[in-house]
Amino acid sequence: MEHSSEVKTMGTELGKYKTCVSARSTNKEILKKSQDGGIVTQLFAYALEEGIIDGAIVAGQSDEPYRPRPFIATTVEELMTSRGTRYNISPNVSWIKEATRSFGLDKIGIVGTPCQMQAVRKGQLYPVGLRDVPDKIALAVGIFCMENFPYQSIKQLVEDHAGVKMESVKKMDIGKGKFWVYTERGAVVQLPLKVTHKYEQPGCHVCLDYVANLSDVSTGSVGSPDGWSTVFVRTKKGDDIWGKAIAAGCFETKPIEQVKPGLELVSKLANEKITKNQKTVEERATFGVNKALRNPYISPK
């Protein structure tokens, strides 16, 4: 068990972290329907059972296939219904206050993309409309994210480009430079990422965070072998919970240095994203004729 309190950084592209490992859940039931190593589900399940959190805001099911809806899981059974990645937006932060109100939560778990982790931390430091929420964020788990898609984009990619009905999709994945669609009947369609680019959510193009730098624990498939996930443990809270979960036997881990493709790939993709989007941010400054588009990193004006 690698467990150190000093902060390592490979470069700012990976944010601050205390530990980085390759991991997967030891629970077969969780792995069965998870995207990769079942990290998010396993960590929340452990935290729920131990009372570290009393509920988790996750991307739940809605009345349309692969269209997520924020959902507050307060039991492991409820958590199990929301495994897997949906590649379009679940406004999980929209429930962060309600969780402390009609749901009565005191210790919230929340999973989200890097931008949602940014929203959570801004909300804690500048809780303009989030009364009594800041001290109730018990575990914020971030997921690696290159970009996200509007629901309609996913629909067009799956139904038009891949020629698969949304209802028959078993799993979607982005990896190895491709967008993958797996069907219930075993067929696999892969689309080159250049097809997907135009469908990306525009707001993603100014995002300067790939590996959810502001989460307590962040995770994603990149850097680890199939069926495993790369995990960054970032904060004191994250370190504490991760350490306990490891001690409780929730995860198998391997040192990140010993797996392929390893941290180098994570770093490479993070740098690609940041460089590309930094350029977008800069281009916005001269977008019109002596007229700029807004830059939220400079001011709210």
């Binding site: 109100r101 009609s102 009565g104 939560l105 009594d132």
Partner: protein, 455 residues
């Protein structure tokens, strides 16, 4: 010969108000005018043609101390107009919310009035913010009681300052069993603290009523045993919650209500002829200051059965529990008695509440312009909202808020007291002046009734 003293602004209550007092040679008030000088934000007029869903949200924002009362009275006046019955579990959540607000408000009022009172057995007044004991423990207990009230309000109501969960037709969200348990546990903790705090306050108040004098600005001012006594009636619509036109036996009757303008009620032009720079802190208005309560008053004068009435905790206890204490001390005592009442009522509602029950009416009519009203028993008294809704929009809206009822009554109750203790009488009403910005066109007949009454 009588002289005029002006205390402006008055302090340690919500909003902007002032006192214009006509006193005799001994400084005893012959006639007192207590009036709001808070600008009139005109909520009733801006409400016209807005949606029935938005208006109660705006109405909530006339007061941040009792926003729950205004939200609920606003919503229930809309529901009264469109004739919408809400599910029982929504009603129960509203009762929880109501009681939570009352708990926090009583505790807040404790902080505001304590500087007028003495630590029993001493000649030291209470500074609620001193770090010294025994006061610090009391201040912490007050803040914990407020925290309990506000937290429960937040869970049941979405927010405690301007609740977001209530809506026309019921509530947006039901509370989960976990949320209910949390509120229940908080209420239980609150009950123990409320008993202690009530006992403490009663001791402090009873100590005060035995005193012959009170120190104000370095002078010993005699304290009359009849401080704040008046001969007006009381008005209360419900012991805890509210009544509306949808009730089988309504606790309030719009036909008994009329209004006069301050023009008919308050003093006319005058000039300050007595000033005391030692009055804490900053003195009274200097001699020569022009006063004109008739013109300056920002509220109207509502009457019930043609006379001003007192509303508030004392009014509730007199109406429903044969309470017989009078005046300022009576008001203070009644308010402390409501500490535990509000928690018992809350616990009862939580016991009855079913987390899987529905909280929104299946059918929410859009209204045909009929009159609806709701009389909510806010912490500081009966808060009546009246509305006419047609096609989902508000045609007409009126708010008869507690302090508006109390302004004229309290003005009467000032007579006979030394002017230096006038603010203590005012604070007995726990005024909320920002709310009190109402006035309606007067029926000519009723106007004559009111004028006679003044003479």
């Amino acid at each position: 010969m009588s002289k005029i003293v002006e205390i402006s602004p008055t302090t340690r209550h919500e909003g902007h108000s002032k006192l214009v007092l006509k006193v005799d040679d001994a400084g005893i008030i012959e006639r007192g005018d207590w009036l709001s000088i808070t600008p009139v934000r005109g909520v009733e007029k801006l409400a016209i043609n807005k949606t029935m869903d938005q208006v109660p949200k705006i109405a909530s924002r006339v007061c941040g101390i009792c926003p729950i009362a205004h939200t609920l009275a606003g919503i229930e006046s809309m529901e009264g107009s469109i004739r919408c019955e809400i599910p029982q579990d929504a009603k129960l959540l509203r009762i929880v919310l109501q009681c939570a607000n009352r708990l926090h408000s009583i505790a807040l009022h404790n902080i505001l009035i304590l500087p007028d009172f003495y630590i029993p057995g001493t000649d030291t007044k209470v500074n609620p913010f001193t770090p010294e004991e025994p006061v610090r423990s009391v201040a912490k207990r007050i803040q914990r009681l407020r925290e309990i009230g506000q937290t429960i309000g937040e869970i049941a109501g979405g927010e405690c300052i301007h609740p977001s969960n209530p809506r026309v037709g019921g509530m947006y969200k039901a509370c989960t069993p976990r949320a209910v348990n949390k509120m229940y546990d908080l209420a239980k903790e609150g009950l123990t603290l409320a008993h202690e705090q009530m006992e403490f306050m009663l001791a402090v108040i009873n100590n005060m009523r035995k005193r012959d004098w009170v120190e104000v600005g370095g002078k010993q001012i005699p304290l009359p045993k009849t401080l704040g006594f008046h001969n007006q009636g009381v008005m209360a619509a419900h012991p805890v919650y509210a009544s509306s036109n949808l009730d089988e036996n309504p606790g309030w009757d719009p036909k008994r209500w009329t209004d006069v303008r301050p023009w008919d009620w308050y003093m006319g032009e005058g000039e300050v002829s007595l000033a005391d720079p030692s009055y804490p802190i900053g003195g009274t208005s200097p001699v020569g200051t022009k006063v004109n309560p008739q013109m300056e008053a920002c509220t109207g004068v509502p009457l019930y059965d043609g006379a001003p009435v007192e509303v508030g905790p004392r009014a509730r206890l007199v109406t429903f529990k044969n309470f017989d204490e009078k005046g300022t001390w009576g008001q203070h005592i009644a308010r402390q008695l409501e500490y535990t009442d509000s928690l018992y009522a809350m616990i009862k509602a939580l016991d009855e509440y079913n987390p899987s029950g529905k909280v929104l009416a299946d059918n929410i009519p859009q209204g045909d312009g009929s009159l609806g009203w709701a009389a909510n028993e806010a912490p500081r008294g009966c808060d009546v909202h009246l509305a006419k809704v047609k096609d989902g929009r508000v045609l007409w809206y009126e708010m008869l808020v507690p302090t508006t009822w109390n302004f004229p009554t309290c003005s009467r109750a000032l007579a006979g007291a030394p002017w230096q203790v006038a603010e203590m009488v005012v604070r007995g009403y726990d005024p909320c002046v920002s709310c009190a910005t109402h006035m309606i066109v007067v029926d000519e007949d009723k106007k004559i009734v009111a004028q006679k009454l003044i003479q």
